[in-house]
């Protein structure tokens, strides 16, 4: 059944939505949306390196994104620059280096649009394996570190005082983010992965009243966005990645209406 490109796209998208749901909630809670964008920008460099040395794209993106994340953690400690300045510095310099390297690789035909916005319809069976196995590992680790991660998200000092080791957990979480970007970059693209992380989680925030509920709603929202987006891209012949994000946005807007109605009812 995976011979149909559309089914492959659907299965890949569902796999990614299952992981972006919970991670997206943490991105919102920890105010990391710009950080997620920075990691995604750096992945272009990862992709070009993969082509240069003929290694697996996901592996090389994971390597570069993790390295960048660790550099960021180091810089945060050793400079007095604010976080957003550091993120901007890393995001755009790694993007620039990536583009410079692409220039040197003139013998390879690059689908820049595909890199930026993803090409979910070109997903092959091996990509599916990477997404589902990688995704399962990410979710498993997330489940293991859930308590300390959540505790240090709520309050860093409290977590530190009560032995939750937030510094180590930060590093693990950062690598999980890098891993997510590595497995999903080919599908969703550099510019849109942040949207996939944030928009369903933001929608969930409008509807949830406790953390676990927000994660579940965020996953459901992501799944709906993938299904709706892919079907409409088939229907209207629109680009698949942007269609998914647009579908997520529509869901977000609907969730806003829901809240207003509830408030009116209460009055």
């Amino acid at each position: 059944m995976f011979d149909d490109f559309f089914i492959r796209a659907l299965v890949a998208g569902i796999g990614i939505a299952l992981v972006t749901g919970p991670l997206g909630c943490f991105v919102i809670w920890r105010r990391l949306s710009f950080f997620a964008g920075t990691l995604a920008h750096s992945s272009l460099l990862g992709v070009t390196l993969a082509f240069s040395f003929d290694i697996n794209i996901s592996f090389s993106v994971l390597l570069i994104s993790s390295a960048l994340a660790l550099i960021l953690l180091k810089l945060q400690k050793s400079t007095k620059l604010p976080n957003d300045a550091l993120l901007g510095l890393l995001a755009h310099s790694s993007l620039a280096i990536g583009l410079v390297v692409i220039g040197f690789l003139s013998y390879i035909r690059f689908d820049i649009m595909g890199l930026l916005f993803g090409d979910i319809l070109a997903v092959n069976k091996r990509d599916l394996l990477v997404i589902w196995i990688g995704g399962a590992i990410i979710l498993l680790i997330l489940k293991i570190i859930w308590k300390p991660l959540f505790a240090s998200t709520v309050n860093y000092e409290l977590a530190e005082a009560e032995g939750m080791k937030p510094e180590k957990i930060n590093v693990v979480f950062t690598i999980l983010m890098a891993a997510l970007i590595a497995i999903s970059i080919k599908m969703v693209g550099i510019l849109l992965i942040t949207g996939m992380l944030i928009i369903p989680a933001a929608m969930a925030r409008n509807l949830a009243n406790n953390p676990k509920q927000m994660i579940i709603i965020s996953i459901i929202g992501g799944l709906l966005a993938v299904v709706l987006g892919l079907y409409s891209s088939l229907q209207f012949n629109s680009a698949s990645g942007p269609s998914i994000i647009t579908a997520a946005l529509v869901l977000f807007i609907l969730s806003m209406f829901n809240i207003k109605k509830l408030k009116q009812l209460k009055k």
Binding site: R31, A151, V154, N155, L158, E162, G163, P211, K212
Partner: protein, 249 residues
């Protein structure tokens, strides 16, 4: 535990320097099982910093900290919950420990906020939130409780009740308590050991010894040294409306 005389945490000549300024310096103290150690001192004297040194929150410190337990309950002085995080009181209770429903209910009942269990944490009043913080810290039955101004914003009646509770818990669980408080009355009546801080340790000892210390009087004024007399039972005096003492006869 018996090897180190029931010591839970021990600070030896510790200090923290931030941006070339000592936040606090030369602090030595130890908290033993079943004992209450209190830090007093003016604003900015390093009380919270000392507590954070004991908790291991500060990494680059002078001196030596030894912890002999991992079961710690902490009530921080300030905590703000981000509005992006939907979190109920019951979720917050489970932050660092796995508790049964009964354990959560009991702890919340002890601090008088069991009716708020399903409320959003950010909709609580200041006093209610303090009560939840204390409930969370004691619910995990810690060996060491670190309480940084635990009753701030709590109403007068509740304040006394909560201090009673804290004392009761230390006796029942046999845990050690490191307490920071501005309420000298309570400090002097319920504490085993007092450290008076002002960037360094000004004086320390039993409450009885500390009130008599001239440095304590310098720091808190003459009125403060009369505090203990309230608790020394012999009511040989009455208080005039402005609080000064009038000797009987």
């Amino acid at each position: 535990m018996s090897l180190n005389n029931n010591i839970l945490v021990k600070l030896e000549n510790t200090g923290v320097m931030l941006d070339n300024k000592w936040l606090v310096k030369g602090v030595s103290l130890e908290v033993k099982k079943g004992k209450i150690v209190t830090l007093i001192g003016p604003n900015g004297s390093g009380k919270s910093t000392t507590a954070k040194i004991a908790l291991g929150i500060y990494k680059n410190i002078e001196g030596k900290v030894e912890k002999f337990t991992d079961k710690i309950g902490y009530v921080p002085q300030k905590i703000s919950i981000d509005w992006t995080l939907p979190i109920r009181v019951s979720d917050f209770m489970l932050l660092t420990e796995n508790l049964t429903n009964d354990e959560i209910n009991n702890a919340l009942k002890l601090t008088g906020v069991d009716h708020l269990k399903n409320n959003d944490l950010r909709n609580l009043s200041g006093g209610e939130f303090q009560r939840v913080l204390i409930a969370r810290a004691i619910s995990k039955k810690p060996d060491l409780l670190v309480l940084d101004e635990p009753v701030q914003g709590v109403d007068f009646k509740g304040e006394l009740a909560l201090y009673e509770l804290i004392k009761e818990i230390s006796e029942k669980l046999g845990c050690g308590i490191l307490l920071i408080s501005h309420d000298l009355h309570v400090v002097m009546s319920a504490t085993d050991h007092v450290l008076c801080l002002n960037g360094h340790v000004c004086c320390s000892g039993t409450p009885q010894a500390v009130v008599k210390d001239s440095k304590y009087k310098e720091l808190f004024g003459d009125r403060a040294s009369t505090i203990l007399s309230v608790y020394e039972h012999d009511h040989d005096h009455t208080h005039s409306p402005d609080g000064t003492i009038e000797t009987k006869k």
